[in-house]
């Protein structure tokens, strides 16, 4: 069976820097795949390339086994893929409902809708449902998001993403700024998202978390994928070894290409 989303041999240079160097990636439906690597290894660049936020110099994307060109974030959304950015991309002055539907407001029926009026009631009801499903800690749907805690904001961003994504959600370091309890909530959330049948790509620096929630771990170094490991039976040391190159066995450095 073909993977849900696959990247083959992506390359992208910024000036002299090869952010992606013949890098590959793949994820199956309903799977949690962690993408790890040191700073500058190309994780975020890979996510951008997969979600229409970045043009690549060469390489191809396959969606459901068919080649596809994803040229804009909107196209990625249309395919059922959403990204939760590290900065969450929430509007702090708007409330959770308004944030969740930002850019996708439900119009009122009839003429009023054509004039740009929004169906606030329906949006609120759907948002409530979304938050209930995730059993989150978001208390108020009417308070400004800016007044909420980091964990609550994270939750809002995740709920927003999974409400629109039915295939893949990308989480860019979702636990980086969180405390112990909030981190636990996010990890539980990831599991629940997976249980809904949505694939999750998790970028993280935290090896124990990665091993806890991910089915597979793909390791990037110097802009390319250097290893793919099953979480089961893999240790933190092995992951770190693959990240840093201490366990180089399968890897051939492509020098002289740049």
């Amino acid at each position: 069976m073909a993977p849900l989303l696959e990247a083959r041999g992506l390359s992208r240079s910024f000036g002299h820097v090869r952010a992606l160097d013949n890098a590959s990636f793949d994820i199956d439906a309903g799977e949690v795949v962690a993408l790890i690597g040191d700073n500058g290894a190309g994780k975020s660049t890979m996510v951008k390339a997969l979600t229409g936020n970045l043009d690549v110099d060469s390489g191809e994307l396959l969606y459901d086994g068919r080649p596809i060109a994803i040229t804009s974030p909107q196209q990625a959304s249309a395919l059922g893929m959403e990204v939760v950015y590290q900065d969450l991309a929430l509007a702090p002055h708007l409330n959770p409902v308004q944030n969740m539907f930002l850019g996708r407001e439900i119009p009122r029926r009839g003429l009023l809708g054509k004039l740009g009026f929004m169906d606030d009631k329906t949006m609120r009801a759907r948002a409530e449902q979304g938050f209930r499903e995730l059993g989150g800690t978001v208390r108020s749907l009417t308070a400004q998001v800016g007044a909420m805690s980091g964990g609550q904001r994270q939750q809002i961003a995740i709920v927003r993403a999974i409400s629109w994504a039915d295939k893949v959600v990308f989480l860019d370091e979702p636990t980086a700024a969180l405390g112990v309890v909030q981190t636990r909530n996010v990890l539980d959330t990831i599991k629940r998202v997976r249980d809904k049948g949505i694939a999750v790509v998790l970028i993280s620096h935290s090896m124990p978390h990665v091993l806890e929630v991910a089915d597979r771990v793909q390791v990037m170094r110097l802009g390319t994928r250097v290893a793919t490991l099953k979480s089961a039976g893999t240790s933190v040391e092995e992951l770190v070894g693959a990240m840093t190159g201490a366990l180089d066995s399968t890897i051939t450095r492509k020098e002289g290409v740049s």
Binding site: P73, H93, L102, G116, L141, T142, G146
Partner: protein
């Protein structure tokens, strides 16, 4: 103005996620700067009423105040949108002059004193205003020049061009229907100009608080990058918002022609600052993302009521400037402290007392 809060109604009492505290709605209202500013306005009105009695609290006095506020109110609608996107439009006074000059010229060459001439003038003024506003918006959104600079340039250029067109001499031939419209016509007991302003305010408020256009305006001011990421066409929206501000300046130009019966080339140099002050006093944040049309209305009435009141009480009206300036700085101080407090998650009790002293 039925619309006060951008967040809308929390009518649904059953909210599984929301644990509704009984005071949450009241608390939210109390936290709105507009409410406190409204209190300030009421205190001012009560103070003058006590000092001057019927002379101040008369229909004629308030219809005069409304008359004086009308043009600024129309400009204030556009400015509120602009400032909510965390922008600024310094050019409205000059664009108003430019539009009124163009409209007056067009009406002159069209000839006649009737409504058809006046309507041609309205169209000309709106086109001129929208053209300026859209140009501002284009330079800000596409050329990425800061709004302060773009509109400062437009302030100078628009006024300069208006002077070039007229040789610096005001055009005094305005169709009679326009001046009559101002003097004689009352709609539902409200003089014509304030009535037009009221309609514009209501429409502006509905668009800002109830439509997608308004929501995107808040979103862009709140987090521009985030707005881009969810697919909002930020550049196009900014062009529209500045275009709206220009359109309001064009409409203001016609109201001003009706009010004074002449273009006001030298008379609008402080209009931009007065309107910005009113918008900011009304709780619209210069940092973007927050504000309301209702607040702008209150912010407009504070200087106007002060001026009228000072005249009636016999205080030199120079004090108006002192008072308005103080309220302006206090309003921004409160806004800023509140943001800091919100970041810390603290209450803003002490700041309110500061505002209270400013009364």
């Amino acid at each position: 103005m039925s619309v006060i809060t951008p967040t809308g109604q929390a009518t649904d009492p059953e909210a599984a996620v929301d644990k509704p505290k009984a005071d949450s709605y009241l608390k939210r209202i109390a936290n709105l700067q507009q409410v406190w500013i409204l209190g300030v306005l009421l205190v001012i009105i009560v103070a003058f009423s006590v000092a001057a009695g019927d002379k101040f609290l008369s229909v004629s006095n308030f219809s005069l105040i409304a008359q004086n506020v009308a043009v600024w109110a129309v400009l204030g609608v556009g400015m509120t949108f602009v400032i909510i996107t965390s922008g600024i439009d310094l050019s409205i006074g000059s664009v108003l002059v430019f539009s009124s000059v163009i409209a007056a010229k067009v009406m002159q060459s069209a000839g006649g004193d009737g409504w058809s001439t006046a309507l041609i003038g309205v169209a000309a003024a709106l086109v001129a205003g929208i053209a300026w506003g859209s140009l501002n918006g284009f330079l800000i959104a596409k050329a990425k020049i800061p709004p302060l600079i773009v509109t400062l340039g437009a302030l100078s250029v628009a006024l300069g061009l208006a002077q070039v067109v007229t040789g610096g001499i005001d055009i005094r031939s305005v169709p009679e229907v326009l001046t009559d419209f101002n003097i004689y016509i009352k709609i539902l007991g409200i003089p014509a100009l304030p009535f037009v302003a009221l309609i514009v305010l209501v429409i502006g408020g509905v668009v800002l608080h109830k439509t997608k256009f308004g929501r995107y305006t808040y979103a862009i001011g709140s987090n521009e990058l985030g707005a881009r990421r969810v697919g909002i066409k930020v550049d196009r929206h900014l062009v529209f918002v500045y275009g709206l501000s220009g359109a309001m300046a064009g409409l203001g130009a016609m109201l001003s022609l009706a009010q004074f019966g002449t273009t006001t080339i030298a008379g609008q140099s402080l209009t931009n600052l007065n309107v910005i002050a009113a918008v900011v006093i009304g709780g619209t944040s210069v940092f973007g993302g927050e504000g309301s049309i209702f607040g702008t209305v209150i912010g407009l009435f504070i200087p106007a009521v002060l001026q009228a009141g000072f005249v009636i009480v016999g205080v030199e009206s120079f004090w108006q400037g002192v008072a308005v300036g103080s309220v302006l700085v206090a309003a921004v101080y409160v806004d800023q402290s509140r943001r800091a407090a919100a970041l810390r998650g603290a209450a803003r009790k002490p700041l309110l007392s500061v505002l209270g002293l400013k009364k």
